[in-house]
């Protein structure tokens, strides 16, 4: 558990340093994730401890968004004057984006997975 957590932090650190050194437009942990993924490809998979720690962390991923989410109390009044266009835009665009992505992916991947077993 401790060794796995240390490993995750080391990759995050490398990610943060890389982002700053190269001026990349993405957060450091995303680069850390990509680098860990590449390491797993080279090594042929995670150790049992790393898999266990990752699954514990990800099981409670929702919890980790709670402190930032509570920050909504700071900006509640920002929504005030324009709440109608903002609410409509948020609801409309979120569900449109989910629908477009899901329907397109279903249509395209359905074709490719149907074609594969026949080969």
């Amino acid at each position: 558990m401790l060794s796995a957590l240390t490993l995750l932090l080391v990759y995050q650190l490398i990610g943060e340093v890389t982002v700053r050194a190269l001026g990349l437009p993405v957060p450091g942990p995303v680069i850390g994730m990509a680098l860990l993924f590449l390491t797993l490809m080279v090594r042929g998979g995670p150790s049992d401890t790393l898999r266990g720690t990752a699954s514990t962390l990800l099981q409670h991923l929702s919890l980790l968004f709670v402190p930032a989410g509570t920050g909504i109390v700071l900006y509640g009044d920002r929504l005030g004057a324009e709440w109608l266009p903002l609410t409509a835009a948020l609801i409309g665009s979120t569900f449109l984006a989910i629908a477009v992505s899901a329907l397109l992916l279903k249509a395209l991947s359905g074709r490719s997975t149907q074609a594969e077993p026949r080969q």
Binding site: Q12, M33, E82, G92, S93, I98, S101, A102, L103, L104
Partner: protein, 244 residues
Amino acid sequence: MSGDFTEIWVYLSTSPLLGLTLTLLAYQAACWIHKRLGGHPLANPVLISVALLAAILLLTDTPYATYFDGAQFVHFLLGPATVALAIPLYAQWPRLKAMAGPLLASLIAGSLTAALSAYAIGAMLGASRESLMSLAPKSVTTPIAMGVAERLGGLPSLTAVLVIITGILGAVGARYLYQWLRIEDHAVRGFAIGIASHGIGTARAFQVSEQAGAFAALAMGLNGLLTAVSLPWILPWIETLFAH
């Protein structure tokens, strides 16, 4: 007696212990409610926890900064948790690779739909330019969205709220949309929610299955990258279209 109470409250309200403990208690209460309601998507743990904590802060007149002094220990774990997404991604790699082309097409279409439909709906209903620029990047993870909003001339702090609401909307509503559209494949469900609703959507996808979670994580990462690179030059062009 009341003197003692004031002393205790002064201690609690200046120590990080209270913010941290309240966050964990609120989340456990939210999970309990979520479970009692049979995992109903409307009883989303993030939504309930945030509502509980926001109510406590407002009722006790506690500044968010004081709360965050304690809650930051939980917030900090977002970094290593993001790195840990590499593990389910690796586990799903054969399927991800087989679907690479369709995934890329869905990513581009979904990313553009999220930003442009938000802009269009907001513009039609008369939102200010500042709000529209804060709205456009709201489907990606907070640090990227705030950076993009700033480059576009929006308000990063407004974007932070819009990002959270977008995440909760997707996590709460996606299941109904999928039922209506007859989308059953967990890979497709996860990927679409990751595009539209970033980390909060991904957290919801992990509650459903590891496969949905892995596809959501990939979509969240890729959409963050795509939005950071593409939106700053696409949006000014869209803006001139709307001006005419």
